[in-house]
Point group: C2
Chain length 241, copies 2
Amino acid sequence: MLSAAAFEAALRAIGAERYHNLHPFHRRLHGGQLTKGQVQAWALNRYYYQRCIPLKDAALIARAEDPALRREWRSRLVDHDGETEGDGGIVRWLKLAEGLGLDRDYVASTRGILPGTRFAVEAYVHFVAERSLLEAVASSLTELFSPAIIQERVAGMLAGYPFVTRQTLAYFDKRLTQAPRDSNFALAYVIEHARNRDEQELVLEALRFKCGVLWAQLDALYYAYVEPGYIPPGAFRPEGS
Amino acid sequence: MLSAAAFEAALRAIGAERYHNLHPFHRRLHGGQLTKGQVQAWALNRYYYQRCIPLKDAALIARAEDPALRREWRSRLVDHDGETEGDGGIVRWLKLAEGLGLDRDYVASTRGILPGTRFAVEAYVHFVAERSLLEAVASSLTELFSPAIIQERVAGMLAGYPFVTRQTLAYFDKRLTQAPRDSNFALAYVIEHARNRDEQELVLEALRFKCGVLWAQLDALYYAYVEPGYIPPGAFRPEGS
């Protein structure tokens, strides 16, 4: 069995190898190399991921026998759904999409998303609903790596795109405090609850799986909107494309 | 299709006919006619129902696409799991059981519950996880009838049992405000979302089902602890029985 330190190092090594900050689509997004239509496609597709997050979090709570775990995980519902109408991460993402010039109702309808987005996101929701609670918690651990990508993204997008404002990216301000709180809890949880080497491997595999969920969403975007640029029938078409 | 008023009247008629305030076990409980051991058996078995409530509520949230519904339903998680350790309805129920002289850890282990309790409660959790969202919401509507039973129960138990104190029954104080808030929301929801006569019938049937879940728990208690009093192997045995 790995020591806590070696286990954490193994988790972080997965991020260093597989987290989606390394994907060519993100390199271009953060480097100011995309067209406005490509940035819109990113925001529109990523909305589907955002809107499904509370569904997977509630699925986890529904399987957690420990009230302390449920209470802790409940804060993720609060983050995404807010306390009142117009509050929370999902609405902030819609504002981001609107700030990029997209129609809010069209984005919210999810009619224009890529099939690859839908399948990757739904695989994540099913994973959390169906695997062990330990694996479900572990699959959230990509948040360990998100503060760095958020800082890079916000700085890069503000510098790279005249159509992007600080206010448009307000979603990420909240995530800079929410994600470390959540990932610290999840990391401590998997270290405590993986009781043998096999369970540690399940945790590592869950994190690899989740890295794949994020990576596959960018693959779909890259293929449809960058290179070769074959937009599937029914999916969002940027103006002039 | 029934008018809103006729639909609500049909729901209330189900309560008038089937709600578990009418069950002989409750008649005895509230009338001061049970032994301490029988009251203990009630509290111990009902704990299993309490502890599963947030699981069914999170299962509902996990299927609710509308953030407003998720936010509203989240308050039920708060009610049962609390904001911090030692808070919330589940802990208050454990205090009730302790106040009746039961060992807290034994109650929390659920080792002593009746098979009939387990099956009825799990049928409820599965119903909420598997039926339509409309039926899942509808199955909570027994709370329409709970303020009356709570007032009758608290008054009856305080008058009928020297071993019951106001503090022991503190769980019910909170429910007097929580249940009407929740059931008003759920009633408005089913009236709005049942779009035709068939869906109204599904709602009515969900409420009948839930009345059965509550009723069956009392049947199991009555059979094991009142008459004929055959306690199944492994289930809680009151001292001296």
